[in-house]
């Protein structure tokens, strides 16, 4: 196994009396596509929020390249190279697509407001460069020609792509994608899956993915963790997870494993009789 880029050690997040994330351990090697699955309310997004700095976990440690990052504010986490997208798209909706990506570039730029007023050499160079970079990224995520649209006026699928584009502008080492194919049809989902793979293969970004679409998860994940009621109940590759009775139980309820076996047999019989 390659070096872990991020380690989540024994992390718990408690809201009042509810333990949303309960002593979870994760270890994501570099350049992996790592999926986190689980039923609704299992604590997946809460875990994301802990990693990206939105929440401070009550317990445990989150190590990025071996350095603890829990409790850092979100802008510092972003600056370190962790970008994310959101389950319900959160773009800067009254700004154009290019501007959204330009804001994503923010942590890499250095000029300040005085440079901007005086238009120093440094500013002109950086501003020109960042616009070029933003347009390149726009092209990369497949939004060429949509750059001057307000984000809120883009079709849904493109909004998802723009969100990824904004996350990429930060030149992240780790990318957290929260349900990137939610609400997409089959074609769009296939495209998005391919795109996520490209991100890893071409840019070498490690990706942690929350996803409900099992086809996507099983298709691209190098490794999968399953959360249920805030606890990690299983970890492994696609085949291992599919065979794990606890996972099936988590999704289908108690006795689910037996049920699943029954249906599998039925399907098999049906297929044979055909």
């Amino acid at each position: 196994m390659a070096d872990p880029i991020i380690q989540v050690k024994n992390v718990s997040k408690i809201f009042g009396g509810l333990t949303a994330v309960n002593q979870v351990d994760l270890e994501v090697p570099e350049k992996y596509i790592y999926s986190i699955i689980g039923p609704n309310g299992a604590g997946k997004t809460t875990l994301f929020n802990c990693i990206s700095g939105f929440y401070i976990p009550e317990q445990g440690e989150i190590l990025f390249y071996g350095d603890p990052i829990q409790g850092l504010s979100t802008n510092l986490v972003a600056w370190l190279g962790i970008s994310r997208t959101y389950q319900n798209i959160r773009l800067f909706s009254n700004l154009t697509a290019v501007e959204n990506i330009l804001i994503g570039l923010h942590p890499n730029l250095k000029t300040n407001w005085l440079d901007a007023i005086i238009h120093t050499k440094r500013f002109q160079k950086e501003e020109g460069g960042s616009i070029k970079e933003a347009l390149r990224l726009l092209d990369y995520v497949g939004l060429k020609g949509y750059g001057d649209f307000l984000a809120k006026n883009l079709p849904y699928g493109l909004q998802r792509r723009l969100e990824i584009g904004r996350a990429l502008a930060n030149q992240p080492k780790l990318l957290l994608l929260d349900e990137p194919t939610a609400g997409m049809n089959m074609n769009e989902t296939a495209e998005a899956t391919h795109f996520i793979k490209r991100l890893r293969d071409e840019l070498g970004i490690t990706i942690i993915l929350i996803e409900h679409d099992m086809k996507v998860v099983m298709g691209i994940s190098d490794r999968i963790s399953v959360l249920d009621y805030g606890t990690k109940i299983a970890e492994g590759n696609a085949a291992e997870i599919q065979a794990n009775p606890r996972v099936i139980e988590a999704y289908l309820g108690p006795g689910g494993a037996a049920l699943s076996e029954k249906y599998k047999k039925q399907r098999l019989n049906y297929a044979q009789s055909q």
């Binding site: 990206s52 979100t74 986490v77 972003a78 009254n94 330009l102 994503g104 923010h106 500013f123 347009l135």
Partner: protein
């Protein structure tokens, strides 16, 4: 006829009847009639009443408006007329009943001015056309006919012929425009912008010398409010912090100049320019002191805290405790004006120059900030603070920076304001000033420089020019705001986002074909 047709028209007539009654109760009818008569060149002495013809004209216009609005859009012309008839009759009946009461007042000689200060017998007579008991009938007839007229006008203007006429005029204009563009010589295209600036510059230089001190005063006031508007826009429009105590920063600038450059109470006489700088600095310091504790607040909470801050500053300036330091409620008089190269530079013309130069500078700085990393960070914070931070924007420093820069503009405007008036006191820095500046942004258009200029002119310039409506300023103001919110919620001149992709595309095309109209080609 169908009930769905009658009852909205009835309601409309009733509503406008009540509106008219309110107009009469606050004497607005007489004011409008007076303005109309002035429009036609009649000379009305102050406090006098206009000719009865103009009251008839006003009521006719009102009735026409009711008829226009009562006739629905997608119905047959006859139906429109019917709707207008119902609305006009209802209006007439409502006003007629009201007339009976008014007439009774006149007949019995009751003076209601104790309760309704505006309702003078003369005004009532004018409204009744001085015809006594038959005036209800006159009003009924007038409103019915006017309403039908209004409906007729709508039918005509919205008809096929009218729309065809309209489109042909528009297309003719478009054609002319392209023709003009095609025939424009290259040198105008290239240097047209500079030429325009030159013309504006020359106008700004010569006009203040020609058009008299009153116009200079009005232009200066509008200019100051443009500067204030830009300052507040950085805080509210760009970084999204709702600030209701902006006048406090204005006061910082004004009082700094006043205290450092007036004979009383301290007699420091530091000179205008250094005290102006100190004023800006003081405003920034105040912004930091206010900003640090409230950075985490948002929306309503921030609004309330800043509102409180504004009031605290004003009350402090007014307090007896600080009278020896700030001059107390009576303010500070005899503030010395600026000098330039040893010459006094403080005539009304000079102030207009100063204000215009500062205004242009403010616009310039604003434009450059808006199209920069900082400006985009502000906009991102305004759109979604949490996501902006998770995208790597430092919320704290950027919000504080916006507050400080905005405050600096306010301090600057305040310093010039105090010196120009040669006086400043607590009443110059009331809550209403903050509200006015915010209204400029809302009416003109947030984040839009032309919008802010338009807003400043509408809200500060027009009331100065239309002194007649002084008593109704707040009414017009409120009405305008409601109307704006309904019809143009983004302001008179809404902001647009830059087309970065398109611009960059055309720039690259230019790069690809060098020597083809480039500056050195």
């Amino acid at each position: 006829m169908n009930k769905n047709l009658v009852s909205p028209s009835l309601r409309r007539g009733l509503t406008f009847g009540i509106v008219m009654i309110i107009f009469v109760l606050i004497d607005l009818d007489v004011m409008v009639a007076t303005m109309l008569s002035k429009l036609f060149g009649a000379n009305v002495i102050r406090g006098g009443l206009p000719d009865v013809r103009f009251m008839v004209l006003f009521l006719t216009l009102f009735g026409m408006f009711v008829g226009w609005s009562a006739s629905s859009n997608d119905v047959k012309p006859t139906t429109k007329l019917f709707q207008a008839l119902i609305a006009g009759l209802t209006l007439g009946v409502v006003i007629g009943l009201f007339d009976l009461i008014l007439n009774q007042l006149i007949v019995t000689g009751t003076d209601v001015r104790t309760y309704l200060a505006a309702l003078a017998p003369g005004s009532i007579r004018l409204f009744l056309f001085d015809k006594g008991a038959i005036s209800p009938l006159l009003h009924l007839g007038l409103f019915t006919v006017a309403s039908l007229l209004g409906s007729l006008m709508k039918i005509l203007l919205k008809s096929e012929i009218a729309s065809r006429l309209f489109t042909s005029v528009i297309s003719g204009y478009r054609g002319l425009q392209t023709k003009v563009q095609a025939n424009t010589p290259d040198w105008i295209k290239k240097y047209g912008k500079f030429l325009l600036f030159l013309i504006f510059g020359l106008m700004a230089f010569f006009l203040p010398r020609v058009w008299g001190s009153y116009n200079n005063y009005v232009v200066g006031l509008v200019g100051l409010y443009v500067i204030l508007g830009i300052g507040l826009n950085i805080i509210v429009g760009l970084s999204g912090q709702l600030m209701l105590g902006f006048a406090a920063f204005f006061a910082m600038g004004a009082y700094s100049v006043a205290l450092l450059n007036a004979p009383l109470p301290h007699g420091i006489m530091l000179g205008f320019w250094p005290s102006l700088l100190i004023g800006i600095l003081m405003a920034v310091v105040a912004a930091v002191l206010l900003g640090l504790p409230v950075m985490g607040m948002r929306g309503d909470y921030l609004a309330i805290v800043t509102l409180g801050f504004g009031e605290i500053i004003r009350i402090l300036l007014k307090s007896d405790l600080l009278t020896s330091f700030t001059g107390g409620p009576r303010g500070i008089q005899d503030i010395k004006g600026p000098t330039l190269f040893g010459q006094s530079f403080s005539s009304d013309i000079d102030y207009t120059y100063i204000i215009l130069v500062v205004m242009v500078l403010a616009i310039f700085i604003y434009k450059r900030l808006e199209r920069s990393r900082t400006g985009r960070a502000w906009l991102a914070i305004k759109e979604d603070t949490k996501v902006a931070q998770a995208t790597g924007v430092n919320i704290m420093t950027n919000k504080l920076l916006a507050l400080c820069l905005g405050a600096a503009f306010a301090g600057l405007a305040g310093g010039i304001f105090a010196a120009r008036n040669q006086f400043t006191g607590p009443n110059d820095h009331q809550l209403m000033v903050s509200m006015n500046i915010l209204s400029i942004l809302i009416v003109g258009g947030v984040n839009s420089i032309p919008g802010i200029i338009l807003g400043a002119f509408t809200l500060k310039g027009l009331p100065e020019i239309l002194r007649e409506i002084e008593n109704y300023r707040l009414l017009v103001f409120g009405g305008l705001l409601v109307f704006m919110m309904l019809s143009r919620p983004e302001g008179l001149w809404p902001a647009t986002r830059p087309n970065i992709e398109k611009d960059e595309g055309s720039k690259q095309k230019g790069d690809a074909a060098p020597g083809e109209g480039g500056p050195n080609g």
